[in-house]
Symmetry: C2
Subunit: 207 residues, 2 copies
DNA sequence: GTCTATAGGAGGATAGAC
DNA sequence: GTCTATCCTCCTATAGAC
């Protein structure tokens, strides 16, 4: 009896979690496709295949919906960071992270935030889950950046924070979509090109 | 009598044009501040100091309003390009253009387009004035890019179109606002930092 | 927790007087 | 061409039955 109750609860919880994951997948895709403001809650509900009111039982607002997707994305990033070899050159890991985020963006899986201040920004800043994830990712990348600068692999004259922002910005670089629209290059070639402009710059190099 | 009519018409036209310029200034500022979707026509009207219905006598829709601002911006760019010395090294002119656009963005004068497809994108693509301006600017920059690559100043292995997109993207680089929010650097320092990451890359250089 | 139905409000666009 | 007042659509959010 007790066992059955436990199983039942666990099963229901699994169903709940599976549904919420399905919701987040839809939100993630729609955020990547049209952005927060253009995405409507009706679309999300239709995409998941449930009624809009049901969505609001899971998430109290459109902002919370998007926030959940961002938290999920942040967790994916943390998981990815943990797969990177600690004994590799820090700059190699930084390059791997950037290539990974650009791949996600080209695959339409990178939710795009509004660049301007907005209700979503407020919700994100107030979300402990999101901010904790962001801080963790920033700290890990920041450590690699400083190591790479100490080794002379990353330009030591640049403030580490500027390097960090520049890396983050590759996740929403419009150059990726423009090159993709042109249909002249494969996703791999696009990533390779933007990796080159990001790390090597536009100017010709002798080294 | 005839003369007076001419003067009168001219005067009225000047008034009309002055008003439309005031409208475009407001739109430009609001576009830079909040983006197209978050900007409301009511705000524009309030900012200009006229009734919303009056706005619609000048511009038939919100999209046309934003389009007019973009066309105006494009003209400013064309004017700026014409001030650059033709005998200067092409890469120097490219750098000057990028620094100029970043200065505009930091000053809150660079209208930001929606990164995703939208009604505004459609209107812009259908606007001859906008497309002509865009083509002209692209052609001028494209010529400098190819010259600079021929001279070995810009990496010749990069497709010119990728270089062009990368330069354009500096006009809406989120790194600028992030660094500005941090309040650690002056606008000039921020421009200098992003110029460095853009042209020299993140990796350390020997040359 | 899922649904149908609807409240509530914001915002783009217009009617009609002057 | 400017105004006030209003329309109408779309969208977030909720009420209430099951």
């Amino acid at each position: 009896m007790v066992t059955q109750n436990v199983i039942k609860v666990s099963f229901k919880e699994q169903m709940l979690q599976a549904r919420e994951e399905a919701i987040i997948r839809s939100v993630n895709r729609l955020l990547a496709e049209k952005g927060f403001e253009a995405m409507t809650v009706d679309e999300v509900a239709a995409d998941v295949g449930i009624a809009k009111a049901s969505l609001y039982k899971h998430f109290p607002s459109k902002e919370d919906l998007a926030c959940a997707a961002m938290v999920s994305m942040m967790r994916r990033a943390q998981t990815f960071l943990q797969t990177l070899p600690l004994d590799a050159p820090p700059v190699a890991n930084l390059r791997a992270v950037v290539a990974w985020t650009m791949g996600l963006k080209l695959a339409g899986e990178m939710p795009s935030l509004p660049s301007h201040n907005s209700s979503l920004r407020t919700t994100l800043m107030a979300s402990k889950d999101y901010m904790d994830g962001l801080m963790d990712v920033s700290d890990r990348l920041g450590a690699w950046i400083e190591e790479a600068q100490a080794q002379g692999a990353i330009n030591p004259q640049l403030p580490a924070i500027a390097v960090l922002y520049t890396l983050f910005a590759r996740a929403c670089d419009p150059v990726l979509e423009f090159l993709k629209m042109g249909d002249l290059y494969t996703d791999e070639e696009i990533i390779s090109l933007v990796m080159s402009t990001c790390f090597d710059g536009l100017s010709a190099r002798s080294n």
